[in-house]
């Protein structure tokens, strides 16, 4: 998901309207050139559907361009018992957006006295991002969840302006987007159980980030089934 051409399109004017790293020659001093602000911190995320389950995998690298600062960054957040949110892009906005969405989800729960469905959450997120059309949050989110009483798997991806794409197999985002498309297209099979889904999504993630210098340094997989929520850490290459 997300616009593949970072130097033009509807997002580029918006991106210039906000403080950009490198404008005041912050650390590293390197001229950022054509590097998009979405690639400043580096990230990789993938969401997949299985049989009555969904999973989101992410890497855990936190970097500033070429420098790796941390290896334990949280990018996947559980919004409620039926919804997972994954955010790629600028780390500061990942935290800000997840905090603001948590407020929205919790307020909804208090006011409506029911949990927000994943599809509703996705719409809400879309409106939330578009509200900042001319000064957007530099995040590209993935939503994964189980919809309705039958717990039908639901996944969706959006770009930074809130344009959604709905599929029934997988969605990817981050600096390793293109690598992830390749691995997922090859390895994905429909109707995998939670364990097989974990294995598949983990292999897709590990293979893809090994070809991307800005993502990797560990990984994590969140699996959501009607009865369980499992978080597993991945052991990958730390380089």
């Amino acid at each position: 998901s997300g616009p593949s051409d970072s130097s033009s399109g509807e997002g580029s004017r918006a991106r210039r309207a906000v403080e950009r790293p490198g404008r005041h020659k912050q650390q590293g001093g390197r001229r950022r050139g054509a590097m998009s602000i979405l690639e400043y911190n580096g990230s990789a995320l993938v969401a997949m559907t299985g049989k009555n389950c969904v999973a989101i995998a992410s890497d855990t690298r936190f970097g500033a361009q070429q420098l790796t600062i941390g290896t334990n960054m949280k990018r996947v957040f559980k919004m409620n018992d039926k919804t997972l949110l994954g955010l790629s892009g600028l780390a500061s906005d990942v935290m800000t957006v997840s905090q603001k969405l948590r407020l929205q989800t919790d307020m909804y729960k208090l006011q409506e006295e029911r949990e927000m469905k994943p599809s509703v959450f996705n719409n809400m997120l879309s409106s939330f991002l578009y509200a900042r059309r001319f000064g957007p949050y530099f995040v590209e989110p993935l939503v994964a969840g189980l919809e309705g009483p039958e717990n039908k798997p639901f996944i969706a991806g959006q770009d930074l302006l809130g344009a959604s794409v709905f599929t029934d197999d997988f969605v990817v985002c981050g600096t390793s987007e293109q690598e992830l498309f390749g691995t997922c297209e090859s390895f994905y099979k429909p109707n995998l159980g939670p364990d097989e889904l974990f294995e598949t999504i983990a292999q897709c993630m590990l293979a893809a980030v090994d070809r991307d210098c800005l993502a990797g340094w560990g990984g994590v997989v969140h699996i959501l089934t009607p009865t369980k929520y499992i978080v597993k850490e991945l052991k990958g290459r730390h380089d």
């Binding site: 906000v18 403080e19 420098l67 780390a91 500061s92 000064g135």
Partner: protein, 125 residues
């Protein structure tokens, strides 16, 4: 608590990047000791926050982070910590173009004691 302070500062920084005045041009390392023990947070001028075991900001990070990856271990004593810091500073003295190995150490302990002293990081040769 340290965790709360770090998140408060992060929110202020994140608010500033889209404000009229622009970002607060300050990267920080926040360290503190509270009920959960010691913790350190790495803060970016954009409002990125990461809890770390050790950190560095500025050009020092290019020289120090790998040294600390190698030598840091859990529950180091104050003396061991100072030795590791001196090692990092001596590397800067050796390899970094700006010749200024004069560093000030500020530390806080669980008892609430605050240290503020000069750290001699001159390289040995």
């Amino acid at each position: 608590s340290t965790h709360a302070s770090a998140h408060f500062i992060r929110n202020e920084l994140a608010k500033a990047i889209r404000s009229r005045g622009g970002a607060h041009q300050a990267n920080s390392l926040l360290g503190g000791v509270d009920e959960d023990g010691p913790s350190m947070y790495h803060l970016d001028y954009l409002g990125s926050l990461e809890k770390v075991n050790f950190g560095a900001q500025g050009y020092a990070s290019y020289f120090s982070l790998s040294l600390m990856d190698r030598h840091w271990k859990k529950n180091m004593t104050m003396e061991e910590g100072k030795e590791l810091l001196k090692l990092c500073i001596s590397q800067l003295d050796t390899r970094f173009i700006i010749n200024n190995p004069n560093f000030r150490l500020v530390a806080v302990t669980a008892e609430g004691k605050v240290l503020d002293e000069v750290l001699d990081g001159h390289a040995s040769t």
